[in-house]
């Protein structure tokens, strides 16, 4: 790409301060890979613009925003290892709100994302000062994430990659105390292998969280060997 010095500089300056239209912006980003001069100008002007950004007065967001975001990242998947695009790429279209579905273009591939607004229970747990989480990777590639707060005596499970069960069966969660007594904590049916569940049973320090397969409707005590038991202490 043979772009005159002036032209590259002019475009890069306008790009860095956000004065380009969306179409001009995309055009410039497409040119970045072909024009080292343009890329270098963009880099310098972007750093310069960032100093303007840092010259504004910082404003602390509300506490609820933090809790919402930390809850959202627990349930929002990241695109699987992205092909590296240009440094500055078109922002992904992210929709917030109850179970918003977004389609984002990642390095030329289109990835559909399901963004579920976190339940308030999960938000409360992740916002707690003593919030803890453990990820248990299953041998078959699935994973179970346990989130809990002892001060709230609440826990939640997020599962991924779980097998579908016949309709006569269900997954059931348990809160298991130090004596091995298992209290039923709710049943769940994964959708595309994923599910989230706020446990119905209260948690005490040292309790473990387990999952079994039970007859549809659930059981009052486990009837099968747990697929997973996650200690919380």
């Amino acid at each position: 790409m043979t772009e005159s010095r002036d032209d590259a500089t002019t475009r890069a300056a306008s790009y860095a301060v956000g004065a380009l239209t969306a179409a001009e912006r995309r055009e410039l980003e497409a040119d970045l890979r072909r024009s080292p001069r343009l890329a270098s100008e963009v880099r310098e002007f972007t750093e310069t613009a960032a100093m303007l950004g840092l010259a504004t007065e910082p404003v602390a967001p509300s506490d609820s925003l933090r809790a919402q975001l930390l809850g959202a990242v627990e349930t929002t998947p990241q695109p699987s290892r992205v092909v590296r695009g240009p440094w500055i790429s078109r922002p992904a279209a992210v929709l917030l709100g109850a179970a918003a579905a977004a389609v984002i273009a990642v390095g030329g591939t289109v990835v559909a994302l399901e963004i579920t607004r976190p339940t308030s229970a999960v938000e409360q747990i992740v916002a707690a000062d003593d919030y803890e989480r453990v990820v248990h990777e299953m041998e078959d590639g699935g994973s179970v994430t346990a989130l809990w707060s002892v001060s709230l005596a609440r826990a939640a499970l997020l599962v991924k990659g779980m097998d579908d069960l016949p309709s006569s069966r269900t997954y059931q969660a348990w809160v298991i105390d130090g004596d091995g007594h298992a209290a039923p904590a709710g049943t769940f049916v994964p959708h595309d292998g994923a599910a989230s569940l706020t446990l119905e049973a209260a948690m005490a320090p040292g309790d473990a969280i387990g999952i079994t397969v039970e007859p549809a409707g659930g059981s009052s005590a486990p009837t099968t060997t747990p697929l997973v038991v996650i200690p919380t202490a």
């Binding site: 100093m51 010259a55 504004t56 602390a60 930390l70 992205v82 922002p91």
Partner: protein
């Protein structure tokens, strides 16, 4: 619109006491600090976020969310909308941190680029942007550059930015301020200022070159 205030002249008249030391210290750690352990730098945190590290995400949020919201509010003014945009920014960071490439710029610049773009997109999505009161915008700017409520390091940055800005001609400064802090596009600026598009571009370019050189930014 030649009545737009030259911020340097007005800012020079302002003298305000510095901010409470406690608040200043609280904000110190939001400045990219090269002496930090690599994992704790903004760049290191972004790398870990790209790997799905939620603790790194929380750490990053705690470190820079006030800078993100500060910039968004500067552009949008409305607090509720600004928090929404801040949320979008952090979700975008979560989902596209893998695109950050430290060889191509600092982590803070990447985050602020995402931030600025989202804020500008929000402004342009609303027709009200054309009716915004320019003079109020410029007046706010003077206050910002006065830098009274900033931390020591940020105040230093601010002093540098203020000094650098004062080296621009008033027309260049006006163009940079309208674009970066006002979110105006080329054509909006041409309309507002009553000058040809080419002149807008030239002023922006010359202003940014001067700023870059004054701030000592090099690749």
């Amino acid at each position: 619109m030649s009545s737009i205030v030259s911020f340097a002249a007005a800012a020079a008249d302002r003298r305000r006491p510095s901010a409470a030391a406690g608040r200043a210290r609280e904000r110190l750690d939001v400045v990219p600090a090269p002496e930090l352990d690599d994992d704790l730098s903004i760049e290191g945190l972004l790398r870990n976020v790209a790997e799905g590290d939620r603790a790194a995400f929380a750490e990053l949020y705690d470190r820079i969310s006030n800078r993100v919201l500060g910039l968004v509010i500067r552009l949008l003014r409305d607090r509720a909308q600004s928090e929404e945009v801040t949320q979008e920014v952090f979700l975008e960071i979560w989902q596209s941190a893998a695109r950050f490439d430290a060889n191509r710029g600092s982590g803070m610049a990447w985050v602020l680029t995402v931030t600025h773009r989202r804020a500008v997109d929000r402004i342009r999505a609303s027709q009200k942007s054309h009716e915004r009161d320019l003079k109020i915008g410029i007046r706010d700017m003077e206050r910002d550059f006065d830098g009274v409520s900033e931390s020591v390091e940020i105040r230093l940055e601010n002093e540098r930015v203020k000094r650098a800005m004062s080296r621009l001609t008033s027309l260049q400064r006006e163009a940079v301020i309208l674009a970066y802090y006002g979110g105006y596009s080329h054509s909006e600026m041409a309309q507002i200022l009553g000058i040809p598009l080419g002149t807008v571009k030239t002023r922006l370019r010359d202003g940014m070159i001067r700023l870059r050189d004054e701030l000592g930014v090099t690749s």
